[in-house]
C-alpha cells in the first residue's frame, strides 16, 4: 500500500474539482492507501464550516468528515484561507491549516502526487 498526496487548487461549487478530489481520495482509502489532501487557492473553500446543503450545489462537508474518520488527512493553505475570510474559528473540525511547505512535506514520501491545478 502506498501514499497518495492530492493537491486541489480549484473551487468548491460549480467546478467539480473538489468533488473529484474527494471521490478519488475515498477510492484510494478504500484500497488501503494513505491519502493526504491539500487545498489551496480557491480550493480552500472546502475548509469552511457550516456550508448549507442544497441539492443544487455540491455539499462536501459530510463525505469529507466520513473520509477523515477513515484516515483522510485534510490541510488547507493558511494564507489562502485567511485572504478569503476563513479563519481558525470557522474552519471545519478536523481540517488542519498550515503554510504551503506542508504540501511539499507531504509529497516527500508520497508514492504518487496528483496536483489538480487547471483553472
Amino acid at each position: 500500500m502506498g501514499k497518495l498526496t492530492i493537491g486541489c487548487f480549484a473551487s468548491l461549487v460549480g467546478s467539480t474539482n473538489l468533488d473529484f478530489a474527494v471521490k478519488l481520495a475515498g477510492a484510494a482509502l478504500d484500497k488501503g492507501h494513505k491519502v493526504d489532501l491539500w487545498v489551496s487557492g480557491n480550493g480552500t473553500m472546502l475548509s469552511l464550516q457550516e456550508q448549507r446543503a442544497f441539492k443544487d450545489y455540491s455539499y462536501l462537508e459530510k463525505p469529507v468528515k466520513e473520509l477523515m474518520e477513515k484516515g483522510l488527512n485534510v490541510t488547507a493553505c493558511e494564507a489562502c484561507a485567511e485572504a478569503r475570510g476563513y479563519h481558525d474559528s470557522n474552519t471545519l473540525e478536523g481540517v488542519k491549516r498550515f503554510s504551503m511547505d506542508w504540501y511539499l512535506g507531504s509529497t516527500f514520501d508520497a508514492d504518487r502526487v496528483l496536483h489538480i491545478g487547471g483553472e
Binding site: G7, F9, S40, G41, N42, C80, S99, M100, D101, W102, Y103, L104, G105, S106, T107, F108, D109, A110, R112, V113, H115, G117, G118, E119
Partner: protein, 137 residues
C-alpha cells in the same frame, strides 16, 4: 539523506487564475519544508514556464499600481531570490514574438544572484524526466 524533486510546470497566463502565482509561492516554500522532514532530507522545486505560461514572465507588470496586488513578475523575482531554477521555454517565447529583452531575467535589484534559464523545450522535457513528481498549473 534523501531528496524529493518536484517539477512545477506553468502552462497558463496569470491574472485569470492565481495558479501561476501559487506555483511560485509553493515552490518557494521548499525553503522551509525541513520542519516537516528528518534531518538532511529535502524537497527541491524547479519551475518551468511553457506555452502561454511564458506571458507570466513579461517585465514591468504594473499590477500593484492598477489593482493593488503583487504582480506575477514580482513572484518570479522572489523565486530567483530563493535560488529556484526557473526555466522559460525558448520556442514559446519566440512563438509569442518575445525575446529576452521583454521578460524578467533576474532579481539583481533585490540582491539575487540567479538568472532565469531560457532553454529549448527539450531541456524542460529533460527536467520533467528527472523529477519525482510533476505539478501542472
Amino acid at each position: 539523506m534523501a531528496t524529493t524533486k518536484l517539477g512545477f510546470i506553468v502552462q497558463r497566463p496569470g491574472y485569470k487564475s492565481e495558479n501561476p502565482k501559487l506555483a511560485l509561492t509553493h515552490a518557494i516554500a521548499s525553503q522551509s519544508v525541513e520542519i516537516y522532514l528528518d534531518d538532511d532530507d529535502e524537497v527541491t522545486c524547479d519551475v518551468a514556464f511553457v506555452g502561454e505560461g511564458v506571458l507570466n514572465c513579461i517585465k514591468d507588470q504594473k499590477a500593484l499600481d492598477n489593482y493593488q496586488f503583487n504582480s506575477t513578475e514580482s513572484h518570479v523575482k522572489m523565486g530567483l531570490l530563493c535560488d529556484l531554477n526557473i526555466f522559460i521555454c525558448r520556442e514559446d517565447l519566440e512563438k509569442y514574438g518575445m525575446s529576452e529583452s521583454d521578460i524578467v531575467l533576474n532579481a539583481e535589484e533585490m540582491g539575487g544572484d540567479m538568472d532565469v534559464k531560457v532553454v529549448p523545450y527539450e531541456e524542460i522535457t529533460k527536467m520533467m524526466e528527472e523529477m519525482k513528481h510533476l505539478l501542472f498549473f
